[in-house]
C-alpha cells in the first residue's frame, strides 16, 4: 500500500473515533441500547462505506392490508 493510502486510512480512523464517541455519548448510559466501536469498517470514510456496502435500491410496495391473500400476489 502506498503511504498516501495509509494516511487516508489513518484519517478515516480518526474520524471514526470521533463519530463513535458521539454515538456512544447519546445512549445516556442506557445498557440495553446499541454500542459502537472500531470494527472492520473503521478505516473507511462514511462516503466510501456507503459507496461499497449500501447499494440496495428500494421499490415502491403497497401498504399491507390483512384482506390481501397470498395467492393474489403471485402475479407479475
Amino acid at each position: 500500500r502506498s503511504s498516501q493510502q495509509e494516511e487516508k486510512e489513518e484519517a478515516a480512523k480518526w474520524e471514526s473515533i470521533l463519530r463513535i464517541r458521539r454515538l456512544n455519548s447519546l445512549s445516556n448510559g442506557d445498557n440495553t441500547t446499541a454500542f459502537y466501536g472500531m470494527n472492520q469498517f473503521s478505516h473507511l470514510f462514511p462516503e466510501e462505506f456507503r459507496a461499497i456496502y449500501l447499494q440496495s435500491k428500494s421499490s415502491k410496495v403497497p401498504k399491507f392490508t390483512p384482506e390481501v391473500r397470498v395467492e393474489e400476489i403471485d402475479k407479475p
Binding site: 454500542f35 459502537y36 470494527n39 469498517f41 462514511p46 440496495s56 435500491k57 421499490s59 403497497p62 401498504k63
Partner: protein
C-alpha cells in the same frame, strides 16, 4: 404469538456470509429467504447461489446494486432454479450468467409478497411466523460502527440503502427487538447479526418487507 421466536432455533437459517466489497446485499437477502423457505418446506437446509442472482438478474446491477423486490420479481417471473452455492461460488464481483440444464438441482419459487408494514410491526411478527424469514431494506448508514446492543436511536427511516433479513424477534426484555441477519461476515455485530427495536420503524425496517413462497 410467542414472546420470543427465532427461525435459527428451528435450524432453517444458513450461516452468515460475507459480501466482501460487492454491493450485492440485495441478492444475499433474497437468497437467504429462499434458502429458509426451502428448508421449511423440504426439510433440507442448503446454501444457494448468491452469485447466480448477481450475474443473471439482468434488471439489477450486480455488485453495483439492486433491489430485493426486483430480484424476487425476476426469480418468480423466469421460474429460474437457484443452484447450490457449491456449484456457483460467490466471487464478490459481477460475472457472466451461467446456465444450468433443467435436470440439474435447483430451487424455484411459486410466488412472493412485498409490502409496506411501516405502522404494522405487530403484524410483521405474525407474518414472520407464517411466511418464514423476511427480507427488508433499511437505512444502514449508522451500522458502520455497530458492535452490539439494540439499535433504538440515530437510525433514520428516510433513505433505504441496505438489504438484510429478519430471522426472529424477542419481546421478553424491556426493549423488544428484531433479530436481523446481515451479510458482512460473522465478525461484524453480534456474530453477524444486529438487533433493532420493534415498534417505531427504526432504520425503516418495516418500509419494504418481502417474502418468498415455494
Amino acid at each position: 404469538l410467542p414472546a420470543k421466536f427465532d427461525w435459527r432455533d428451528k435450524g432453517i437459517v444458513t450461516k452468515v456470509r460475507n459480501q466482501g466489497v460487492c454491493g450485492g446485499c440485495w441478492a444475499f437477502s433474497v437468497v437467504g429467504i429462499i434458502e429458509s423457505v426451502h428448508a421449511i418446506k423440504r426439510n433440507v437446509l442448503e446454501e444457494l447461489s448468491v452469485q447466480q442472482v448477481i450475474d443473471c438478474s439482468y434488471i439489477n446491477s450486480g455488485c453495483r446494486g439492486g433491489s430485493p423486490v426486483g430480484a424476487l420479481g425476476w426469480i418468480n417471473q423466469t421460474r429460474v432454479k437457484l443452484v447450490r452455492d457449491s456449484e456457483y461460488h460467490f466471487q464478490a464481483e459481477t460475472g457472466l450468467c451461467r446456465y444450468f440444464s433443467r435436470a440439474d438441482f435447483g430451487v424455484s419459487i411459486k410466488g412472493y409478497a412485498a409490502y409496506d408494514l411501516s405502522d404494522q410491526e405487530d403484524k410483521m411478527k405474525k407474518l414472520l411466523l407464517e411466511w418464514g424469514p423476511l427480507a427488508v431494506v433499511v437505512d444502514a448508514a449508522s451500522w458502520q460502527d455497530y458492535l452490539g446492543g439494540i439499535i433504538q436511536y440515530h437510525c433514520s427511516s428516510g433513505e433505504p440503502n441496505h438489504a438484510v433479513l429478519i430471522t426472529g424477534y424477542d419481546t421478553t426484555g424491556s426493549i423488544p427487538f428484531w433479530i436481523v441477519k446481515n451479510s458482512w461476515g460473522p465478525a461484524w455485530g453480534i456474530d453477524g447479526y444486529v438487533r433493532i427495536k420493534i415498534g417505531s420503524n427504526v432504520c425503516g425496517i418495516a418500509d419494504e418487507v418481502s417474502a418468498a413462497f415455494l
